[in-house]
């Protein structure tokens, strides 16, 4: 149980004022404020990034890569999340954005929407053959995968074992570039342009396999400003040409519902925002959603366009993606993976997830079942003695978590404001 987990955030204790906003925002109760400073409980964190948005002091720093990382490779490639297109919509088209990225210092830039389209087809193939329990759950959001590993380990077999478009694209690009330039694959750096910090973790510590095909991630917030200036000097290209290679099927992956739209299933759900997802996962655990084939779930509201490292208001960017899709449809852009080719690759297991996602349930109250039962009873007793107003002043997010912290010896009962009389008595005694 002592395994170390990387996380995509760092707490700057200098800046932290102990205002507890992060602690209250955390959906897995992974943050405690002790001695006036926030700290993270490693095993509980699922890297959703809610705390980054909540912190009023800018003390929670997402750990994405700086541009300097590019110099470590002989050849570098940018692979932007379609959420990057959503920052600009119809005003600056994908062709220009990719050209702008090259001006920023990447040797090449690739559209990810095409791989998204391919993976849509691969998921379709998988669902057609699948006979096991339902619903299957999308693995595209690494926070969702981690949420299942930590809080819903019994649902782990429902995660769809098809690799994500960003991994498939990086694998494919590295393979081709290595042939083209006669370079070993490790000298080609594939960088994801990310809307959220969790992708960084899925690169450094993938949930299922030893190593990611991606080498790093730059945040949209870091890239945005330089990219805007870089695009100024990109020559005018024709409207059509800027769109020609963009796959309509894949571009929708930037927003919630984008995958379901492409799958044409009888019954599927598209869910975004952790509180909503938890409700849906609770229903899946109860066996209530057996008639649903597929659940597409994103930790961020509205999907990847809602990531904490994006610039545009999430509703605007959602709208911008919709408008971009409309334009592609209107212009009759037909860029689309060849389904026969995808089927062939699928049969060769090209899209299959390498390795297995293992559960990582939270450490139980005790290793011994008998003692764990006793501690659970103690927890209930402590909880019953608390005011149950979840004020958080003790430094735990709510009374129930505080009760657990007390039983586990991580907090003192007298840390509770309402136990001050006892505290005074203790000090006197």
């Amino acid at each position: 149980m002592s395994q170390y987990y990387y996380h995509s955030i760092r707490f700057d204790t200098q800046k932290c004022q102990g205002r507890m906003k992060c602690m209250r925002a955390c959906p897995t109760q992974a943050i405690r404020v002790r001695g006036g400073k926030a700290a993270i409980i490693e095993e509980r964190c699922i890297d959703c990034g809610e705390c980054i948005n909540a912190c009023p002091s800018g003390a929670i720093v997402p750990l994405t890569d700086p541009f300097g990382e590019l110099t470590k490779f002989r050849h570098t490639v940018a692979i932007p999340s379609p959420a990057l297109y959503a920052q600009f919509g119809r005003e600056i088209l994908p062709g220009k954005i990719l050209a702008g990225l090259k001006k920023l210092g990447f040797d090449d830039a690739f559209d990810l929407a095409f791989a998204c389209g391919e993976v849509s087809f691969a998921i379709q193939e998988y669902l057609r053959e699948y006979k096991g329990p339902k619903p299957l759950i999308s693995n595209v959001c690494p926070t969702i995968v981690r949420l299942i590993q930590v809080k819903y380990p019994d649902l782990i077999d429902l995660i769809i074992p098809i690799d994500t478009p960003r991994e498939i694209a990086a694998k494919d690009i590295k393979h081709k570039k290595s042939k083209q330039y006669g370079l070993p694959e490790k000298e080609i750096g594939a960088f994801y342009i990310t809307p959220c910090p969790v992708k960084m973790i899925s690169i450094r510590q993938p949930a299922e396999k030893g190593k990611s095909y991606l080498d790093g991630a730059l945040s949209i917030t870091d890239v945005y400003g330089p990219l805007l200036s870089a695009m100024e000097s990109v020559g005018k290209e024709s409207f059509r040409k800027a769109l020609e290679s963009i796959c309509i099927l894949g571009i929708g992956w930037a927003m919630v519902g984008g995958i379901c739209r492409t799958l044409r299933l009888k019954n599927s759900l598209a869910v975004s925002g952790l509180t909503e997802i938890i409700k849906v996962f609770d229903d899946i655990e109860r066996g209530k959603l057996r008639d649903i084939d597929f659940v597409e779930a994103y930790s961020c509201a509205q999907g990847c366009v809602g990531g904490s490292l994006t610039v545009e208001n999430i509703y605007s960017s959602y709208n911008k993606i919709l408008k971009l899709i409309e334009t592609l449809e209107f212009e009759k852009i037909k860029a689309c993976p060849d389904i026969r080719q995808v089927r062939k690759l699928y049969a060769e297991k090209y899209f299959s997830l390498e390795g297995k996602i293992e559960p990582r349930p939270l450490t139980p109250l005790d290793k011994d079942l008998g003692k764990a039962i006793q501690k659970r009873k103690e927890k209930e007793e402590v909880y019953e003695s608390l005011p149950k107003i979840d004020c958080g002043a003790c430094g735990s997010p709510n009374c129930l978590t505080f009760a657990e912290d007390v039983v586990m010896g991580k907090a003192q009962l007298t840390d509770c404001l309402f136990k001050i009389p006892e505290r005074i008595k203790q000090n006197e005694g």
């Binding site: 149980m1 809080k151 380990p153 019994d154 649902l155 782990i156 609770d282 229903d283 655990e285 109860r286 066996g287 209530k288 559960p359 349930p361 939270l362 450490t363 139980p364 109250l365 005790d366 290793k367 011994d368 079942l369 008998g370 764990a372 039962i373 006793q374 659970r376 009873k377 927890k379 209930e380 657990e404």
Partner: protein, 148 residues
């Protein structure tokens, strides 16, 4: 095994209370996860709890749901005050249901409840008195080697 190694918790379920239906299964699941019960057992217990809870909400006036946990087993007991079941063998058949149209419209009453409970349990007991109520007793046996 002494009393201190036994956890017992009782929940009340009100007939017709669809708004809160599912809350007992959420609570039971939480307890089992914290104690470190095997995920596959939790899944089965969650399904059984939910089905039993829904049966009580749909058909009974009220019910008492008791979770009793010892290092060797999980025992779920649901006693309801309700119409009872006239023919248990028939009720145990998949697809048999006395659900009203309204219940079916809400997605319930597919006649899978009791068979599903039995399927997921390690031991399943049922008794019923028409006009009085029904009692279900469901056991899950725990492999005591290792926890976590």
């Amino acid at each position: 095994m002494g009393d201190e190694n036994e956890l017992s918790q009782t929940f009340e379920i009100l007939g017709g209370d669809f708004g809160r239906a599912g809350s007992v299964s959420t609570k039971v699941k939480e307890i089992l996860k914290e104690i470190g019960i095997d995920p596959s057992v939790i899944r089965r217990a969650a399904i059984v709890t939910y089905e039993a809870e829904m049966n009580a909400v749909m058909y009974a006036r009220k019910a008492l749901f008791t979770l009793r946990l010892t290092p060797g087993q999980i025992h779920l007991k649901i006693e309801d005050e309700g119409p009872g079941i006239a023919d248990i063998d028939l009720a145990m058949q998949e697809g048999f249901s006395t659900a009203t149209d309204e219940m079916r419209e809400m997605g319930f009453g597919a006649g899978m409840g009791l068979p599903n409970i039995k399927k997921n349990a390690d031991r399943f007991l049922i008794s019923s008195l028409v006009g009085k109520g029904t009692m279900l007793s469901v056991y899950f046996y725990l492999n005591q080697e290792g926890n976590g």
